[in-house]
Symmetry: C2
Subunit: 344 residues, 2 copies
């Protein structure tokens, strides 16, 4: 199994990226192809013991920065690590490509150099969100800042297939993120998407969901535009970190509380582990015809290691074939019984 | 001081609303006029000791439910508690109106029966968000699900005036909520609003802000559309509650940790108090020509009590005159030096 990794992308590239690759190659026994500037990568690799690990370097002379305009950068830099990585999965030289770089850049490189699954208008980032009952899949969490109702409809279809085929939920319950649970609440996009989702027979649509209901496990799949989804995910991460900080501050004010925290330290460690998003690793860019995983821009080595784990599992579970098969089944239904309500 | 309260609005109306009014009248020494169906309110008042408290009943025969279409409901129900409450502040029979009812309904009733400050296109809900350095004001947190860039510009102007005049921040730093900190990141609304905000001389605009930077105190005022703002605020609330639940679960698994939690209980209580949004009470509906405060739909008695406290403080600080004066100053500047970049 060969997983291509964008060694140049991310807030902490290349240090954290290469460090994560070394960990992943050791722990998961996979080949991690480091895509980027060879001298930079070699210098990082020297900091680690890489004996016996499969960490080939794939040269790419250009780098797409975090703040570059995605589409323009991808066109202007054909030898960037992002473009080279996408071309590797397209030619099946690697079974997945992982990048913590500019999300818009990965999306643009993916659309241009990997290509979409037939019928898919917009690939979307799907990420798991922990609930008290298990996990809720949210898409789009950042690929498309502006979308139309027909895109949301496709997100719902792709998310349902992913939940069924990858997570094993027989009838995934789908809801749309809104500012109120009642039908009719929401912005124009939500209100129009709601109508379209109601008329989509291939999904089990159960209406609006407020963010407060996501942790209760009310839905298996939550659809939203990539702007709102991104704000949702980042706000949840931030609040969890803020709360940890507030707890630490308050405990430090009292010696008795500090003793208490010492006694409870293993429990508090488990809380940190449950809330630490480094373990989620990465989000699959669903709708491309090869596997592309987007890791958080601020990924540390642990997050990169877990993003590679997500890629490995997606390869083992054959996520791509399952999604393609699910979309193809919908397409053939459409061909047999023309159904205007499905606009894919 | 007379504060009108919508006794019929909110998930826990009328019980929690009347209970909160009784507490507020006792603790803050204000008159709270209970607007709604007299028999219902009287039945609730009987559950409390109201001796010596000023809690007059103002009859309103109709109720606007949480799930009604706002504008239509306000037109169809001229004797609803929301409409009657708004008319009271318009006629200055009360100095503020507080409602935990359907936010869209309060907004519609406010626009129709209170009226906007001259020049204001859309009133916006402004709410305080705790940061590690103090407080950040966010608007709109729920009044307008769909807005245009010129509305965002007005939110920035109103928010700046509020921060300066009410909170006492001399030069409030304004940012726009986005999915990336770099200029150019965001959805179409953010990108277009950004350009307009850059050209607004009456505010100190410092660019985009990601939700993760709000708790660090990077901005004094954060502007956003009411849909995104609402998702942001609710997600933060929800994550804080979820984390409390996770901590409790993990601690209960170990007797040693339970002892630890017992020793740290006063510190944990302070954490709960710092994170409990019941203490924020309500958000001011900025841009109306009388004071209207919107409390959370799920307000309990404590939240209602604090919403009345917010109203009392807003009256004492003369928030309304300050905002009107600030807007008027901008208007007169506009008249003196025509500036197309300010579209109010």
């Amino acid at each position: 199994m060969n997983i291509a990794l964008d060694a140049m992308g991310g807030d902490h590239a290349p240090e954290a990226i290469v460090a994560g690759a070394v960990e992943a190659a050791r722990i998961y026994g996979v080949t991690v192809s480091l895509v980027g500037q060879p001298n930079v990568i070699e210098a990082e690799l020297k900091k680690h013991d890489t004996k016996g690990l499969n960490l080939p370097i794939v040269p790419a002379s250009q780098v797409i920065a975090m703040d570059e305009k995605p589409a323009a950068a991808v066109r202007a830099k054909p030898d960037s690590s992002m473009v080279v990585g996408c071309k590797m999965v397209k030619r099946n030289e690697a079974q997945a490509f992982v990048s913590a770089g500019n999300t818009g850049g990965v999306l643009a490189a993916g659309i241009l150099h990997v290509g979409r699954i037939k019928g898919i208008l917009r690939p979307a980032l799907i990420g798991p969100f922990p609930t008290l009952r298990g996990v809720c899949l949210i898409l789009d969490i950042g690929a498309n800042a502006d979308v139309r109702p027909e895109h949301i409809q496709q997100f719902a279809i792709m998310g349902s297939i992913y939940a069924r085929e990858v997570i094993g939920i027989e009838k995934p319950r789908v809801r749309i993120l809104s500012n109120g649970e009642e039908a009719g609440k929401g912005n124009q996009l939500v209100i129009e998407s709601y109508k379209l989702l109601e008329q989509t027979p291939s999904i089990l649509f159960e209406g609006n969901i407020e963010s407060k209901e996501i942790p209760t496990g009310l839905a298996d799949v939550v659809v939203t535009d990539g702007f709102t989804g991104n704000i949702f995910v980042k706000t949840a991460e931030t609040t969890a970190r803020l709360m940890t900080q507030v707890i630490t501050e308050e405990i430090k004010k009292s010696p008795l509380a500090m003793l208490g925290a010492l006694l409870a330290r293993r429990s508090l460690q488990r809380v940190r582990e449950r809330m630490d998003d480094s373990h989620y690793g990465g989000a699959v860019l669903l709708g491309l015809s090869s596997l592309v995983i987007v890791a958080h821009g601020r990924s540390n080595a642990l997050a990169i290691r877990h993003a590679i784990r997500v890629a490995k599992q997606a390869i083992e579970q054959d996520v791509l074939t399952k999604i393609q098969r699910g979309i193809a089944a919908l397409e053939s239904q459409k061909a047999a019984v023309p159904d205007e309500s499905i606009s894919i």
